[in-house]
């Protein structure tokens, strides 16, 4: 019997103002979030999930009337790696996002219109500072762990460096402390595709047609980088969509082309092009070592860290995870590192559920147990 997914519900938290990293003030700010499970009486079982570029607050469960569960549902729920019978899970949409949190498509209180390009350039640290406000609001003093893949992993690193006392452990997955020129290059190609779309109109498209073609191309580029040569071959081969006599000029002949077009077009329905521009800029500029050397980066951190990378991930290659591990080693942190054998490429962090579950389940258990023991006056 299949256990039905618990119903998930989106909530909102609004606060007056945030001083951004660039010195500008932004407000009011609304953060959309969801929670799963229950916070225990001493507030020691809270886990913050941090989403990737195209993710949102809906990490698990089903929204009323919908068929598709949240983006990491296979990891979160009763008896799963993030066991909601034990832990209290929180996931929020990032600042700059378009799924309920304040971003370029939100109404600017000064003009009564969407911010569009009046929205300030935000950073990964700004996103994390909003999450810190949310955690404070929920009455949580210290998180059991912060966890996320890709851009979510960058937020994990920002938590480590900027709020070291607020977390007991951290799990950065398939991520980097700094984007390489290759990663920046892919993002720039995506941004230029959006900005080259005539409907983009310097960001002012909210009253008309959105730059759907540009955003779809940006998403296609993204999807190419999320897969591997092997996973693409396994999924599509050179399979054609139709027989040669039906063929027209420059249609999507191959399965892979059809897939990318489908993914691109689908993305447009649920994502805002300006958000794509702002967020990719934020992650390109991110520096998880805060401009310091690897040697100095984590010197005030005390959290226990587990870094996970995937062998076929060429967008966020394992060597970048090893840089994070190196910083942890130098800082003398309790660290684990696992390079999971996978052919899925960067997407592996959403697909290699069995391995990831094993690693995370045991790691969390250990961190949770150690804390309970050290706080138990009878021991």
């Amino acid at each position: 019997m299949k256990i039905p997914n618990p119903i998930a519900e989106i909530k909102y938290f609004t606060f007056d103002e945030l001083m951004l990293e660039n010195g500008e003030k932004l407000g009011p700010i609304t953060i959309a979030y969801e929670t799963y499970g229950k916070l225990n009486s001493d507030g020691t079982n809270a886990v913050l999930i941090l989403h990737s570029l195209s993710g949102d607050a809906h990490a698990a469960g089903l929204h009323e009337g919908e068929k598709e569960p949240g983006w990491w549902d296979s990891m979160i729920g009763p008896g799963k790696a993030f066991d909601t019978d034990k832990y209290f899970m929180i996931c929020s949409n990032v600042l700059g996002g378009c799924k309920g949190s304040t971003g370029p498509s939100s109404i600017n209180p000064k003009s009564g219109k969407p911010y569009a390009l009046d929205f300030p350039l935000i950073t990964v640290n700004d996103m994390v500072n909003c999450q810190k406000r949310l955690i404070d609001h929920l009455g949580i003093k210290q998180l059991l762990t912060v966890v996320g893949g890709s851009m979510g992993g960058m937020q994990v690193l920002s938590w480590l460096v900027n709020h070291p006392k607020s977390i007991r452990s951290a799990i950065p997955i398939a991520t980097t402390a700094r984007h390489s020129p290759q990663q920046i290059a892919f993002n720039e190609a995506g941004r230029l595709a959006i900005m080259a779309d005539p409907h983009w109109n310097f960001g002012n498209y909210y009253e008309g047609k959105p730059p759907a073609k540009g955003l779809a191309v940006a998403r296609m580029i993204g999807h190419i980088t999320y897969m591997s040569d092997v996973s693409m071959t396994e999924k599509f081969g050179r399979q054609k969509k139709w027989s040669s006599d039906e063929r027209e000029k420059f249609t999507a002949d191959f399965e892979v082309e059809g897939y990318l077009r489908y993914r691109g077009d689908n993305f447009v329905k649920r994502f805002d092009a300006n958000t794509y521009l702002y967020i990719t800029k934020a992650i390109d500029h991110f520096d998880g070592f805060a401009g310091k050397s690897v040697r100095e980066a984590f010197q005030h951190v005390q959290a226990k860290v587990m870094v996970i990378a995937f062998k076929s991930d060429w967008l966020y290659p394992a060597y970048q995870s090893q840089e994070i591990v190196k910083a942890c080693k130098i800082a003398g942190l309790q660290t684990s590192y696992c390079e999971v054998d996978s052919t899925y490429g960067h997407d592996a962090f959403l697909l290699e559920i069995e391995e990831e579950s094993h690693l995370i389940r045991h790691f969390l258990k250990k961190v949770f147990h150690d804390h309970e023991v050290s706080n138990d006056p009878t021991t």
């Binding site: 226990k304 080693k329 999971v340 391995e355």
Partner: protein, 199 residues
Amino acid sequence: MTQQHDNVRPDHRIILEWIKKDSSVLDLGCGDGELLHLLIQEKRARGHGIEISDEEIYKCIAKGLNILHGDIENGLADYKDQSFDYVILNQSMQQILHVDRVLQDALRVGKKVVVGFPNFVYYRSRLQILFGGKTPVNASLPYQWHETPNLHFLSILDFIEYCRKKKIKIERKAFLGKDQRVYLFPNVFAQTGIFLISG
């Protein structure tokens, strides 16, 4: 509380005896983490392991250990001098390509280093070579020539001589037969040599 270690591997028993309480330990090539886990439980050690095999990594994580996935050769460089009270190379030294470099680095990173390795000139091996005319396969060298992970074949005497040449101090040593300690002619009768060394 002293516990009986009847089900503990004999080499682990010796290492457990040598490691002082509350020490920090780095176990290079820690396998499934059995020794590290034992040291944490019995000696309140703070420890890290480095291991190359995926399968063993998952076992280590299940034991709640801090484990780094990677090879030993590159694993030491990032640590500061004297980061650990002990660096352990138990049954892994003979599988390392650049033994000399790794040992020097282990002596830099650890205040003391534990080294355990199979004695290649154990008498059964000698007999197998002499009378069998074949590469020895026995309890301490369990692999066929085409599948062995061992890159170096050394004797207890070889290691003692190496330490003398490199001016490495041997603080303690122990030799093992099948299950028992060997005290007489270890280079002949011991399957395993275990050394505690310092720079």
